[in-house]
Subunit: 342 residues, 2 copies
C-alpha cells in the first residue's frame, strides 16, 4: 500500500502552496470536517465541511431533484457526524440552469427542507446562480466541545472496527439506477445523533461516503494500520441491497467496493471502551455493528466465501478516480481487486 | 421603489419552505454574512458566507485563472468584512474541467494562496470535482465579538453614508474586458481590517460587490430610507476607472451602476459617532470617504452635471438579473435609469 492513491496525489498538489492555519486541529485529509479553534474558548471547535454535488449530476445518478436537494444537505451533515459535531446549519450555493422547470426547483428545495428538518438543523444562507450547467455546493457548520476532537487519526492495532448501520445501500442505489433495474429507494440520513456519542469513545472515525473499502483504505494510510474484517461481515449488509447485487450476478462484497457509499460512520474503538459505549448507544436506540479489528500489519483482509482475501483498495480507489461512465469495465476492475490470502 | 427586485423575489421563493435557525441573528437578505450564535458564549458570533463564481466564468470576465482564484477568496472575505468579522479561514470547492492545463490550475491556486495571505487568513479545506464545466465555490468563516452585530439593517435618516475606498474599479475592469480596451488591473482586497473597526460605530454596512447603486438600493429597501449623494461624489471615484468610462464615451456615474462592483464597504453612521470613528480609522492609515446622507424619503438621489437626479435602482438591478451578454443593450438600459429631480 506504499504508493499514494490518485485522489490524494491531486489534493496534495493542489494544496502544496497553501499554509495551514495555526488554529486548525487537523492536517490535510485527516478529518471529515475541518476543525478550527473557537477564539477565546478552550475545548470548543468549529467544524466545517464543503462538498459540491457535481459528478452525481453529470452522470444522472441524482436526476431526481428531490434527491439532489436531500443529498446536498446529507453529504455535508455526514461529515459533521464523523467528527461528532452538533450542527449549526448549512449554506447552499445553487447553480440552476436557464429555463429549469419550476417543478424541479420546488422538488429540489423540498429535498433540502426535508433533509435539514430530519437532522434538526437549518439552512443559514446561500447563493444562487444561473448557468448552462447545474451544480449544488453545500457547506455544513457545527460545533464540537472536546479537549481532543475526533478525527480520522488515532486508532491502534487491536481496536475494534464498527459500522454505524447497514452497508451497501449507496452502491445498490447506483447499480440499480445505472443498470435500469427497479429503482432502489435511497434517502440516507446523516448519523448526527450517533456521531455525537463518539468523541472520547472512538479512536478514529470517517464516513463511508466513498464506500466502506475506500474508507478503510484512507484510515489505514493515515494510521499506518490494517483491517481484518470478521467472518460475519455479511450480517452488516442491508438485505435489500444484497438482493440488488445478487440479482445482477455480483458478489455482495462489491457493495462495499463501489464508490457511492451509504453515508454510515466507520469508527474504531479500544476494546476497553466498548462496554460503556454500547450501553450509551443502546440508550438512544442505536445498534452499531462490530465488523472487524485493526491490525498492526497494513492491508485490508476480507473473508469471501469463507476464504480470507487481501483487497487492493488502492486499485479500487484509483478505478473510482478514473471512472468515466463505463460501468461494466469499472465492475470488472473491482472484481479483479481481490487475492486469496496464502 | 415599492415592487421588489427580481433577485429578491427569486430568493424569497427559493427559501419559502425553509425555517430560520433560532440561533441566527439576521433574517434573509439582512446581512452580507450569516451570523449564528456560538453555543455557550455570550456576545460571540460565527460569521459565514458562501459565494460561487459562475457567471464570471461563463462570460469570460474571470478568464485569467489567477484572478479566478483570487476572486473566489476575496468575494467571500469581503462579505466577512461587511459584518466586521475576524476571518477564521475559507473552504473552497473547485470544479475543474477534464484536461484543464496544469499551468491554469497552478495559476488559480496561486491566486488563492496570494489572496488568503494578503488578508492574513487560510484555506481550511475544500472539495475537488472534475466535470465538463468550471466552477469555484468559496465559503468564508469568521468570528465577531459584539453584543449587537453589524448587519445591513439599522440606519436612520440623517446618518452619513461612507465608502471605504475608491469606487468604480470593478465596473472599469468589466468594461475594459468586454470592449477589448487595454486591460484594467483588478485584484481587489477585502476590507477585513477596516471592517473590524465598524461594529459599534457604523449603523449598517454592506459591500459593493454588485456596484454602489445596487448596494444603496438594498440598504434602502431593508431600512425604509433613501440616500442623497453629495455633490462631491466624483472625488470618491478611482481616477483610472473614470478614464476607462470617459474613454468609452460614458458618464462616470455608470461606474457605480454596473453590476460588477469594487468590493468596498458602503456603511452608514450617526453624525455623533463620526469624530471618534475617523480618529480610529486614521490610526490604521485608513481614509474612508463620506459620500452622502441617509434620508427619510425613500429613493436614491445623485447629482449628475450639478443637477440632482433620481436613480431607478430597481431597474438597474433587474437589468443585471436579466443580463445575457448584450453589453450595449445593458448600458443603454443603465443610461435610461435617471430622471432629473423636479
Amino acid at each position: 500500500m506504499n504508493p499514494e492513491v490518485l485522489e490524494n496525489v491531486m489534493l496534495r498538489a493542489l494544496t502544496r502552496t497553501l499554509s495551514r492555519s495555526p488554529f486548525q486541529y487537523n492536517g490535510l485529509l485527516e478529518s471529515d470536517a475541518e476543525l478550527v479553534r473557537v477564539p477565546g474558548v478552550s475545548d470548543l471547535w468549529l467544524a466545517a465541511t464543503t462538498d459540491a454535488v457535481v459528478e452525481e449530476i453529470q452522470t444522472g445518478l441524482y436526476a431526481d431533484p428531490r434527491l439532489l436537494g436531500w443529498m446536498t444537505v446529507m453529504v455535508n451533515l455526514s461529515d459533521l457526524a464523523a467528527v461528532g459535531a452538533a450542527p449549526a446549519g448549512i449554506l447552499i450555493a445553487e447553480t440552476l440552469t436557464h429555463g429549469m422547470p419550476q417543478k424541479d426547483i420546488e422538488e429540489m428545495q423540498r429535498g433540502i427542507a426535508e433533509a435539514v428538518r430530519t437532522c434538526g438543523t437549518y439552512v443559514l444562507g446561500g447563493d444562487t446562480s444561473v448557468a448552462d450547467h447545474r451544480e449544488m455546493c453545500g457547506t455544513a457548520l457545527g460545533f464540537v466541545r472536546a479537549e481532543k476532537p475526533l478525527t480520522r487519526c488515532g486508532c491502534a492495532a487491536g481496536d475494534f472496527l464498527y459500522l454505524s448501520g447497514p452497508a451497501g445501500t449507496g452502491n445498490a442505489f447506483a447499480l440499480a439506477r445505472f443498470t435500469h433495474a427497479d429503482p432502489f429507494p435511497f434517502f440516507p440520513v446523516a448519523r448526527i445523533r450517533e456521531g455525537q456519542l463518539l468523541p472520547g469513545r472512538a479512536s478514529a472515525c470517517m464516513d463511508t461516503s466513498d464506500g466502506l473499502l475506500a474508507t478503510l483504505d484512507q484510515l489505514s494510510r493515515l494510521n499506518g494500520i490494517g483491517f481484518e474484517i470478521d467472518s460475519t461481515w455479511e450480517e452488516a449488509l442491508d438485505q435489500a441491497s444484497r438482493s440488488v447485487f445478487s440479482g445482477a450476478g455480483l458478489p455482495s462484497w462489491i457493495s462495499l467496493a463501489g464508490q457511492h457509499g451509504e453515508f454510515e460512520l466507520a469508527f474504531t474503538m479500544a476494546p476497553a471502551r466498548e462496554a460503556v459505549f454500547l450501553e450509551e448507544a443502546g440508550s438512544i436506540g442505536w445498534k452499531p455493528k462490530r465488523v472487524g479489528i485493526t491490525t498492526a500489519a497494513m492491508g485490508i483482509i476480507l473473508p469471501i466465501n469463507g476464504i480470507p482475501h487481501t483487497i487492493d483498495t488502492q486499485a479500487i480507489r484509483d478505478l473510482a478516480s478514473r471512472f468515466s461512465g463505463d460501468l461494466n469495465g469499472y465492475i470488472t476492475g473491482l472484481l479483479g481487486a481481490t487475492t486469496p490470502l496464502k
